[in-house]
Symmetry: C2
Subunit: 478 residues, 2 copies
């Protein structure tokens, strides 16, 4: 029991609880390098499963992976004016190669539009080269002075899609296809995290984009985390980097572009959406270990029980990611806590008495429920339970999200709710940057997105009271 006490309770100190869980479950750790974390094998195993699900969706929608240089010469980064202005303050610069000072300093990529566009302008000649649908899995560097494991680090991992299209409509269609078919499908179905989708305000959009669309997820402390973004770049980069194609009508035209990304921050979201005071709760679809076998070992029957455990692994087949915890030095109870803390969806207990009865005990991480299962039903039951756990985690998160979206019309109430209950607030907004800034200044809440659904009602801007038909989502965010 001491063991679980080492995790701070969520209620008491959410930020500390988060760090405790991430470090004790060995998802990640700090390093001596300011702002940089290490993703440990358990965390990286989770990331590999996340990558697999997302990569499949990216490829299924026609994209191929490629790899572009880590370094971006300063003059390239400067080509798109808004872009460099947005990223320059957080760039790490290489100024020295071996013992020589470089003539031009090079940015360690804070995002890859500049380098990728410089190549696209060489590769694209004709309408036949379009659409060009490329994705990259890569490391990214944005200078940070503090480290919040997965949430805010100088280096992180991500995927970034960069596509080129013939028309504005094609680019917009791609932007939304990524938002809905790829990202929302992945985040909701694989990560079991429900999201609110919509458009960013001009203040919050990507530096250099025409429009940024976003998926916003609600953490259990009531703060929101941006789970992914999809940008319609319009022709801004095409004009800055001279990306033109000869169309069927024999005229040269500037192309239309999109870019989109999700990062290892999503690991932080998984922790904060599903975790509880006992530690992680991982969605079965991405859990590195889906089922942990804890054999109940006595000296006399140990070998027998371990043999049985190996048999069970064969029965379960390749479809289940399973491990045996056969360590002698720990008691079963200690192991139960350990694997609960690590968020493994299902625990299987097997001892000599179970063996005699031809049964095993399964315990769900999400509900704590125990089920006794006959060996012959095991394979099927495990599949059913993993599916149920995946759904249950989503449903719990969805319920939490739904009860924490509040429609508010009065600014005082808005301030109270943001301070005390947090969550997302749906409120009217006049569209004015000044009101957006003031709300942020006074409440730390930002506009997370403008939803797609148009509402026909009119109302008053939460800050200035001006009449408007636009409702937006406000929240405090990571």
């Amino acid at each position: 029991m001491d063991f679980v006490k080492e995790i701070t309770s969520k209620e008491q100190n959410f930020a500390q609880w988060y760090i405790d869980v991430v470090r004790k479950a060995e998802l990640a750790d700090y390093t001596t390098i300011k702002g940089c974390m290490v993703i440990r094998p358990y965390g990286y195993g989770l990331w590999e499963n996340m990558q697999k699900g997302l990569d499949e969706r990216i490829k299924k929608t026609g994209h191929k992976n490629a790899y572009f240089p880590l370094f971006i010469p300063e003059h390239l980064l400067k080509k798109e004016a808004e872009h460099v202005e947005g990223f320059a303050p957080e760039v790490a610069w290489v100024t020295q190669g071996g013992s020589q000072q470089l003539e031009e300093k090079m940015a360690v990529r804070p995002t890859s539009e500049a380098i990728i566009c410089s190549l696209y302008s060489k590769w694209i000649r004709s309408y036949r080269d379009l659409p060009l649908l490329i994705n990259q899995w890569a490391n990214i560097v944005r200078w940070e002075k503090t480290t919040r494991l997965f949430l805010r680090t100088t280096e992180f991992l991500w995927q970034e899609g960069h596509t080129v299209h013939k028309t504005e409509e094609d680019a917009q269609e791609e932007t939304l296809k990524i938002l809905f078919e790829v990202y929302r499908d992945y985040i909701e179905n694989d990560l079991a995290i429900p999201v609110v989708v919509g458009k960013k305000t001009s203040k919050e959009r990507f530096a250099g984009a025409l429009n940024t669309y976003t998926l916003e997820a609600l953490m259990t402390d009531g703060k929101v985390l941006q789970a992914g973004t999809s940008h319609n770049l319009g022709q801004n980069f095409a004009k800055a980097f001279n990306i033109k194609y000869l169309d069927e009508d024999q005229t040269e035209k500037y192309a239309w572009q999109t870019s989109w990304g999700t990062t290892t921050r999503l690991i932080g979201a998984i922790v904060m959406v599903h975790g509880d005071d006992r530690g992680l709760r991982l969605p079965p679809k991405v859990a590195p270990v889906q089922l942990i076998i804890v054999p109940i070992m006595f000296d006399k029957t140990k070998d027998e029980v371990l043999n049985k455990a190996e048999q069970l692994i064969k029965i379960l087949g390749k479809d289940v990611r399973v491990e045996i915890d056969a360590r002698d030095e720990y008691k079963p109870g200690w192991k139960f806590n350990e694997w609960e803390m690590r968020g493994v969806p299902l625990r299987l207990e097997i001892g000599p008495r179970d063996m005699k009865k031809g049964q095993v005990v399964l315990v769900r991480r999400d509900t704590g429920e125990k089920v006794i299962v006959k060996e012959e039903d095991l394979k099927n039951k495990v599949q059913v339970l993993l599916t149920e756990i995946q759904e249950n985690l989503y449903n719990l998160a969805k319920k939490f999200l739904d009860t924490n979206i509040r429609e508010i019309a009065d600014y005082e109430e808005f301030q109270e709710v943001i301070e005390e209950k947090k969550g997302m607030i749906k409120a009217f907004w006049c569209g004015n940057r000044a009101c957006e800034d003031k709300v942020k200044e006074e409440t730390k809440a930002t506009i997370r997105c403008i939803p797609f659904e148009e509402e026909n009602a009119l109302g008053k801007c939460i800050y200035c009271g001006k009449e408007t038909s636009t409702k937006v989502y406000f929240a405090r965010a990571y």
Copy 2:
């Protein structure tokens, strides 16, 4: 035919042939950034298949993946003296973060021993934590002034294993397990490249290692390429970074370590071992496209033929990576050349006449052989042919390697052969660094490795004539 002419012939200019093939097949391209390349989707698809095969072997032997920081503070890199001396001349240094000068400059990792060891010293406490078996897939930077696509670039991709063990024997066992069970198995079976394995001389070994073992592959121009290395690090890093464990006997001991890596250079090896004057020839196991369907399209029957092609894809099933080239703007003959140049192992031709007969034409890239196959035999025949092509490519390369390893005892003959025939030369060497240096100076040949097989014969050092029992492999290398 013009098309194929655009590739320089191997005979005429091997280096130019290589660049032509890499660029025309769209494996990779130059960028405006000195020393940096871009890996295009076709090349990256190849790399993904290579990664998959190697990653499976790495995991099967008990290793897990993790991710460590890109940046290494200067003081960490300096901890192991030989290590920093070896790598400092090729390090890219970050000196500026945002607008601030850093107090300590940071290396963009040229290899990750320093950062990983600094973390291992925190993580490892007891013998129970060992062995620690971790691998990382990452980008690496070593400053280069020239670019040779895949072969020599400032940035490249690789995997690096870093393991920690209780005893010297355990570390040595791991070093050789990686060399044989993981690397040789992967390179010979997946990439169809036969290798010569052995130990590096002290001159050629990894900076900071006790012993470096290597796999050397012979390119068809007679030069050798180092295909992978596996290092027994001994206790050098453990002592520099204070990696100790409490053993079962309750005493504290320094741990023993290994590290090992293979890189995107292996893509260059695939090109240079298997390619011919028509372009690439890719081993089926790693080819991004294993079978290309070229439909013979006439206006009247086009839809019918395309429907049939789609049916054939279903017949072939998920086990074959297949694409259809349905482009209207190119003739079949042009497409044949294009896909041969891209090295696709099998081409399937289907036209209205074939359809009537219920058959297709299969053409092998390695031999040019045409086979007419009944639709009902297609699935099976494709599997058989892909296996045959994989084996044939290996056998051709093995034969070339075997006929280009020459035992030579006379230094004049050695010089002639290295200059005219190249290949690998097996010769006696006294073990003296001075002779090794002189041979390199006078012939550009280096000692590639000291083979494992002991020979009982004595002979005279190829350079100084001193009697010795050590035979080694010399070659000019990439």
